[in-house]
């Protein structure tokens, strides 16, 4: 048992398995039977952590994340005295994958966090103007912590879904300062759609094996206003402009479906 390494640790897939994946995708089907733009089964458990101000567990296939929200009093930034503050952080917990390590966040964790953060921030999902306690002095700070418990690909979409769900059920604990608790004011519902390029195809919601054989990843985050609020090309690989335009269209379509199904 000791020498047993998980099949996919250190991103080593056998050449044979790689071949299977590539061949299958050429035919428009994936090894698990999905079409190229199908998501795996998505399971959302709202209020998974009742003591948090808001929370959700999200599973996309075997990928499993928990988002929890804390709302605390704090100082506003000097250049935005009339605006609450959001800070978002993804932890790639060492339990989730053999090569994830304890300690300060890796470049990968930081990139994922910042992509998820941008989608939420730029869609103006949170109405930060309604989080001011005293102008220039005291505001509500929204801490969004997302823990990855099991890693089987596509963390960005799972984390975005979890964060957005958790924010939508978040309560601002204003009773602590002698006011009434109120639901976090939310203006938009951003959804990220992540695709990877395998051979010449764009494949939605990649699992870990698909990530390992892919050449480039692209995430597009769109809100119900149909506008693009975040994009990120990640990993080594390249896309044509046409592929990027196609990714935007896919994101728009799939994102809408995800929003209607999971985020009403």
């Amino acid at each position: 048992m000791v020498n047993k390494m998980p099949m996919d640790a250190s991103a080593v897939l056998s050449e044979i398995r790689k071949g299977f994946i590539l061949e299958s995708i050429k035919t428009g089907k994936r090894l698990d039977g999905r079409r190229l733009d199908d998501y795996r089964e998505i399971k959302i458990t709202e209020n998974f952590v009742p003591k948090a101000a808001g929370s959700a567990m999200v599973e996309i296939g075997k990928t499993k994340v928990v988002a929890g929200i804390k709302v605390e009093e704090g100082d506003p930034f000097e250049d935005s005295p009339d605006s609450g503050v959001m800070a978002l952080n993804i932890e790639l917990l060492p339990m989730a994958f053999p090569t994830f390590e304890s300690g300060p966040p890796s470049e990968q964790a930081i990139e994922y966090s910042r992509v998820v953060d941008r989608g939420i921030r730029e869609s103006k999902m949170i109405d930060t103007s309604k989080l001011v306690i005293e102008s220039g002095k005291r505001v509500w700070m929204i801490f969004v912590d997302i823990d990855v418990l099991n890693y089987d690909g596509n963390i960005i979409d799972a984390a975005t879904l979890a964060a957005v769900t958790a924010l939508k059920n978040t309560v601002v604990p204003a009773s602590k300062i002698g006011q009434k608790d109120y639901a976090l004011p939310v203006n938009a519902t951003p959804v990220s759609v992540t695709m990877v390029k395998i051979g010449d195809e764009l494949v939605c919601d990649p699992d870990l094996e698909e990530e390992q054989v892919s050449n480039g990843r692209i995430t597009v985050t769109i809100s119900e206003d149909h506008n693009i609020h975040a994009m990120q090309k990640g990993d080594i690989g390249e896309f044509s402009l046409d592929e990027i335009r196609k990714a935007i269209k896919t994101s728009s379509n799939i994102g809408n479906k995800l929003r209607e199904t999971y985020l009403r």
């Binding site: 048992m1 000791v2 020498n3 047993k4 390494m5 998980p6 998974f48 952590v49 009742p50 003591k51 948090a52 101000a53 929370s55 075997k62 499993k64 928990v66 929890g68 929200i69 804390k70 605390e72 952080n89 932890e91 917990l93 060492p94 339990m95 989730a96 994958f97 053999p98 304890s102 300690g103 300060p104 966040p105 801490f143 912590d145 823990d147 418990l149 099991n150 890693y151 089987d152």
Partner: protein, 240 residues
């Protein structure tokens, strides 16, 4: 550990309605982290803790023990798991818990059967509500078994303490914050030997004995929940 808050009601029950020697409800489930060699999820009262176990060759080489395994538990809290947001990363409290949990598990695992190995036990506290170290250890022991690691016995733990001057089992958050003592303990149930024991507060020798007796009585009930969790999995697997 301050004592000026009423923790026992006039009817003799505790604030949450429990009797002195009554546990909170406990649920354990295995196989919850697909990627890991073994895993367990425990809900103990409002505590929610997930544990994943990886068994691997210790690295680097000079950190290996040539004749037995090393056990490394790492107790970690999610930012949203406690009242005030917890910053990521270990602090002094979590490092002490990691140490005593590692040592308790080491007493249960047949270390000699896994020379040169490291048994990594990753503990993530998603929601904390008093008694997390004992709940973590109880779940870890199930997760280690779920990983197929040879064990002499399943470590099982609980806490007792002193609230409003009375010895009570399985402290609630209020009893932990405002009571007069907290005594977490863990044993190997086959022999009754103690592998984890801490105490802080103010108790007499008699009170200590009362607390340990109360815990000893509760242990078999928790052991059973552990065993059922492991059996559920295998019966499910058989049934599939």
């Amino acid at each position: 550990m301050e004592g000026n808050i009423k923790l026992i009601r006039d009817d003799g029950l505790r604030l949450d309605g429990r009797a002195n020697n009554e546990m909170r409800p406990i649920k354990i489930q295995t196989g919850v982290v697909d990627r890991a060699d073994g895993s367990a999820f425990i809900e103990w009262g409002a505590n929610k803790i997930i544990v994943a176990v990886y068994v691997r060759e210790a690295y680097p080489k000079h950190a290996q023990n040539i004749d037995r395994a090393i056990v490394k538990a790492r107790y970690n809290m999610s930012g949203y798991s406690v009242e005030e947001r917890k910053r990521p990363g270990p602090d002094r409290r979590t490092m002490e818990i990691s140490k005593v949990v590692s040592e308790a598990l080491s007493s249960a695992i047949v270390l000699e059967k896994l020379p040169r190995a490291e048994v990594d036990v990753f503990i993530q506290v998603l929601e904390a509500d008093a008694g997390t170290r004992i709940a973590s250890l109880t779940a870890s022991s199930v997760a280690v078994a779920d990983a197929g690691v040879p064990m002499r016995d399943l470590v099982v733990g609980c806490t007792a303490g002193k609230a409003d001057g009375k010895i009570v089992l399985d402290l609630s958050k209020d009893e932990d914050n405002f009571g007069q003592a907290d005594i977490p303990m863990a044993i190997l149930p086959r022999t009754g030997k103690v592998v984890l024991l801490q105490l802080d507060g103010d108790v007499t020798e008699e009170e200590f004995n009362q607390a340990t007796s109360m815990m000893m009585e509760a242990m078999p009930r928790i052991s059973e929940i552990q065993r059922n969790a492991l059996m559920d999995k295998y019966s499910l697997e058989d049934g599939e």
